[in-house]
Subunit: 326 residues, 2 copies
């Protein structure tokens, strides 16, 4: 297969190297060997590589704004990301070309981050971070996570691992997704249309769903206010899933006890933004789910499994349904 890999700038950890490709191919020789792979990180390289490419691999950043109309042989685009929001709407995608994400590449790292964030919020680390800025030695003794309730919105690779992290500490887990089908990491599942019914019991709320027109501002000011007093929030999905200004207000008022957010609106969060100095709010710069040791290798493994499915004529496990956006 003619494969073109459009890489980000050279110093970025998301650059796929010929060595990484060769290693992935060697792990799955029956489907990984014999491909003709080109690499580029420039516009000229993109144009040259796409002349006869059947498969295009890139990150949302390297793919955004690209014109694919002239790529006559293109059959698939593999995006090195779980969320497609930067690439929506999909009008840039020629008809008949399959769009794939790398769902599955974020799991172990997300599980560790979620475990950390749950324990940090439970131990009031956001409050201690705020106190440390004013050199204030005031203790807050807290009980352990066991038996507390954690609601996770979105139960894909990210949310499923967040649920597993909560479970590993003996928490009660509630999952929220489009339809309330059972999920092994959750004690209870509810449909997204019924989310208001579980907010009052959600001591911990994890946002891990895609950003879509119907999930934008999902946690509006009204919904954030329905969380119990002292509730704690983790956002590993996208900043616009919640009303960030309301989040800051509710942390300021004390209704919410703390939050750990790995995603913001906008990104990067600009200097001078109120979120930087909001009490009990811990901010990380969109790093929660990407391990440099495993991100590219796992992504390539996932891609090759999709090529295997394509050869077998079965459904591609990572194909994005364009109508729903994930």
């Amino acid at each position: 297969m003619r494969i073109h890999i459009q890489n980000p700038p050279p110093d970025d950890l998301f650059v796929i190297t010929p060595r990484q490709w060769a290693d992935a191919a060697a792990r799955r020789p029956d489907i990984g060997l014999g491909h003709d792979v080109s690499y580029a990180d420039s516009d000229d390289g993109f144009a040259a590589g796409m002349a006869d490419a059947e498969l295009l691999i890139g990150t949302p950043g390297t793919l955004k704004g690209r014109v694919l109309a002239g790529a006559a042989k293109l059959k698939m685009v593999f995006v090195m990301a779980a969320g497609m929001d930067k690439l929506m709407p999909f009008d840039w995608l020629p008809p008949g070309v399959a769009l794939l994400n790398n769902r599955g590449a974020h799991g172990p790292k997300m599980r560790e981050f979620a475990l950390m964030a749950l324990a940090m919020l439970n131990n009031r680390m956001p409050a201690y971070a705020t106190q440390q800025r004013r050199e204030d030695w005031t203790g807050h003794f807290t009980t352990i996570l066991r038996g507390k309730t954690c609601t996770v919105v979105g139960v894909g690779d990210l949310g499923g691992n967040a649920g597993a992290a909560a479970r590993s500490q003996g928490m009660t887990t509630i999952g929220v997704r489009t339809t309330p089908a059972p999920h092994p990491e959750f004690d209870r599942m509810v449909a997204i249309s019924d989310i208001d019914t579980v907010l009052p019991e959600s001591e911990f709320l994890v946002l891990a769903c895609p950003l879509l027109p119907e999930t934008r501002n999902l946690m509006s000011r009204a919904r954030l206010s329905k969380l119990p007093k002292g509730a704690k929030i983790i956002n590993v999905g996208r900043g616009a899933l919640l009303d960030q200004d309301a989040l800051c207000d509710l942390l300021d008022s004390g209704h919410l006890d703390g939050a750990v957010i790995d995603v913001t609106t906008p990104e990067p969060l600009p200097k001078g933004h109120r979120a930087w100095t909001t009490a009990n709010l811990v901010i990380t710069p969109h790093v929660s789910a990407d391990s440099p040791a495993t991100y590219n290798p796992d992504s390539l493994d996932i891609l090759l499994e999709n090529l295997r499915a394509r050869r077998a004529g079965t459904q591609l496990p990572n194909q994005v349904e364009l109508g729903r956006g994930y």
Copy 2:
């Protein structure tokens, strides 16, 4: 048995209530019922209660400086703490009176805190806390904890649970204690006299041992410098186990990547102390191991098990060896 409980001031979570005592007695009626218990939080109450007390219960704070010479019937002192450093030397203890600590009451909470601190350091949360103060959105992508090496100094209740936390994330664990006898949570045990041999491979170092004359300044500047570049430190023992000034220097120089310290020198850490503003240093105010839901109940359960051992004429599991200090 005549039991006197000397409590801290009323708003403190460490106050033992008659209800907590009654609940503990009901959990172990064969050994818990039939005692004559007095409670006080004043000096007068102490004097009155101690006139005929056979067992004294208190915290290091309520016991420090008390004169017990006149307590003719006193047989045991139960201290609501694991570390006895505040009460050393033991010259205040009448000859023949057994001293007991509450080793075992800190486990589940410590395990959660250690898990949190390991994940925080691995995900560079101390760096993000420092960056947040200057409103700096710079990402650091890190691999997961699995396979990294964690050395724990002191493998009692605290250190054993820290080892279990590290194990739960697939870390390689090294335990350090007086003698290198095997311990179920550690892949390898080394004697404290050989600690220098494991420092160069200790990517994570947890201090969880008692503060004794021989452990004071255990992690001297020279030893801290023997940790590998990028090493991370957790101190849940006592502040004076390490050279705090050297810790700050080595964080400033970048030799150490981060630290989470729950104990400091002195405590409380005074305003203006350099540790408050040292980069990549997270400080919590001595709260890592005490859950308000379980601390007093678990401590009383531990005490009653010791009374059971005393009645049976067997060794008291929580008796402090005065010569070694724990």
